[in-house]
């Protein structure tokens, strides 16, 4: 495969950040990945000190050309806006990540989306629709739909195709400010073709969830026609980030 690859959804994990970064670098070399957007995650409900440490770990990797970063934010914390501001304006992040500490449509998130909208920063939202074990703060595509309608000027990246694409994708089909990635080990054979059928080829970006998963997503794009592959592997993410990672080909 000759296309450049932009992985818009990967992680390093608190407590093993250096090992994860090394794994991601190896994967980049092996598979020809030019850009990897990471966020650092720890516990499901982190305190401010953990958030600070997560972002410090991720920021360390942002000086070179390979990594870009999402600021990890726990929106329910009073200092969340300052964490975001500092991450973007001082630490070199160019996106925001919301995981499972609170639902993405809670009012406390609004100020963060306003900031991201004003700066043109994408918001990566973990979404899942589990049949067992859904976490109290784990957003579904329904939450993201509400959010995206409330913030039409902000760009959102719905992770994991919503966790179950047949539930998630129809929710955001008609929302032009929502992109999707098909990262994660839950990605099934039919999921990407269904996403293409429903959304077209311009709002789907490649993501893997490395280091937890890779092949489930990567294998899906190998069978695509070249134009769709190029858009999904690189061009759509460039559009999502407005080329701000400085690595445009």
């Amino acid at each position: 495969m000759n296309e450049p690859i932009f992985d818009a959804h990967a992680h390093i994990w608190l407590g093993r950040a250096a090992q994860d970064a090394a794994l991601l670098r190896r994967a980049a070399e092996k598979y020809g990945i030019q850009k990897i957007y990471i966020s650092c995650l720890g516990s499901h409900t982190p305190d401010p000190a953990e958030i600070e440490e997560c972002n410090r770990q991720a920021a360390r990797l942002l000086s070179g050309p390979l990594f870009g970063g999402y600021v990890t934010v726990a929106p329910e914390q009073p200092g969340a806006l300052e964490v975001l501001r500092q991450g973007v304006e001082e630490q070199g992040f160019s996106g925001m990540k919301i995981w499972v500490s609170c639902l993405c449509d809670e009012p406390c998130c609004d100020r963060l989306y306003d900031y991201c909208g004003a700066w043109g920063l994408p918001v990566l939202v973990h979404t899942f629709a589990k049949t067992v074990g859904q976490l109290p703060g784990e957003s579904t595509a329904v939450h993201l739909r509400r959010t995206a309608l409330r913030h039409p000027e902000t760009k959102f990246l719905m992770a994991h195709l919503g966790g179950n694409c047949y539930h998630g994708l129809p929710m955001i089909q008609n929302l032009p400010n929502v992109w999707v990635d098909f990262s994660g080990s839950n990605c099934r054979f039919d999921d990407l073709p269904y996403a293409l059928e429903l959304l077209g080829k311009d709002r789907i970006v490649f993501g893997t969830d490395m280091p937890g998963s890779f092949a489930m997503s990567y294998g899906q794009v190998l069978a695509l026609p070249q134009e769709e592959r190029r858009k999904i592997l690189w061009e759509n993410a460039q559009a999502l980030f407005d080329g701000r990672d400085g690595n445009a080909l």
Binding site: L23, L24, R26, A27, F128, K130, T131, V132, G133, G163, N164, Y166, S185, N186, C187, R188, F189, D190, P193, Y194, M210, P211, G212, S213, F214, A215, M216, S217, Y218, G219, Q220, L222, A223
Partner: protein
């Protein structure tokens, strides 16, 4: 070309499979570099008498390079009848779904022994899909230790652990114990961290539930060992080739 020890065809009750027909399955597997395999009927998993799904598939697979892995539930009284019929008709393996059919693996010992006597291997399915996406029928976890124990109790039968995760295979081994690669599609470089004998690994895509290219792109660059393992499996199974 790869030989696929874990591929399927048919319908899946929890979501619509767009590529589930035999024609599509064969085309997708061929495109991913798979030349043949042990194919199982997804329909048969849910039929009271699984032969209703397996019988037509066995006929349809004739001359394709794929053979049937028959679905049997040892808790049903007619398993021995179906096992004999299937073996005579050319099925080459038995696939068990203890997590779906809900029996302890010790209940499969007799079946496992008799399958081996007929030259059929037994495939123990750990899971069909990500647990987070299962619906209505909860699939009970299948213990890898118990699955390995089944192999130990039935030394004349080749037993394949199917779609077990990397961590679940850790430390398991046995002279008649094999594992397929379907569950290794998670994480980065899983083959480097595998604590299961490499010479006992068999390729499986789990298509059309999982993407066959994902299973293939995940393999180490040097894949000759899989051909070698496939040959060794068949020799161990029935003293010959498929």
């Amino acid at each position: 070309m790869l030989f696929d020890f874990g591929c399927f065809t048919g319908h899946w009750p929890y979501r619509r499979l767009r590529r589930g027909s035999l024609e599509n399955c064969r085309a997708d597997l061929a495109a991913a570099g798979v030349g043949g395999g042990l194919m199982a009927s997804l329909d048969a998993v849910f039929y009271n008498d699984s032969w209703e799904g397996d019988g037509p598939l066995l006929e349809a697979l004739s001359g394709t390079g794929f053979s049937l892995a028959i679905c049997l539930n040892p808790a049903l009284p007619w398993w021995r009848l179906r096992l004999g019929e299937a073996a005579r008709a050319g099925a080459r393996a038995v696939r068990l779904y203890p997590g779906i059919h809900g029996y302890p693996l010790e209940a499969a010992e007799e079946l496992c022994r008799e399958a081996g006597e007929l030259g059929l291997g037994v495939i123990v399915t750990a899971r069909m899909e990500d647990q987070r996406l299962q619906y209505l029928l909860r699939q009970e976890p299948v213990s890898p230790r118990e699955a390995a124990g089944l192999a130990k109790k039935c030394p004349g039968t080749q037993v394949i652990l199917s779609n077990f995760y990397l961590s679940e295979l850790e430390g398991l081994s046995g002279e008649n114990l094999w594992a397929d690669t379907a569950g290794l599609c998670h994480g980065l470089f899983p083959f480097e961290n595998l604590e299961f004998p490499r010479e006992r690994l068999l390729f499986a895509s789990f298509a059309p539930l999982q993407c066959p290219e994902s299973a293939v792109c995940n393999l180490p660059e040097e894949q000759d060992f899989l051909d070698c393992n496939t040959r060794n499996y068949w020799e161990a199974c029935n003293g010959g080739t498929l």
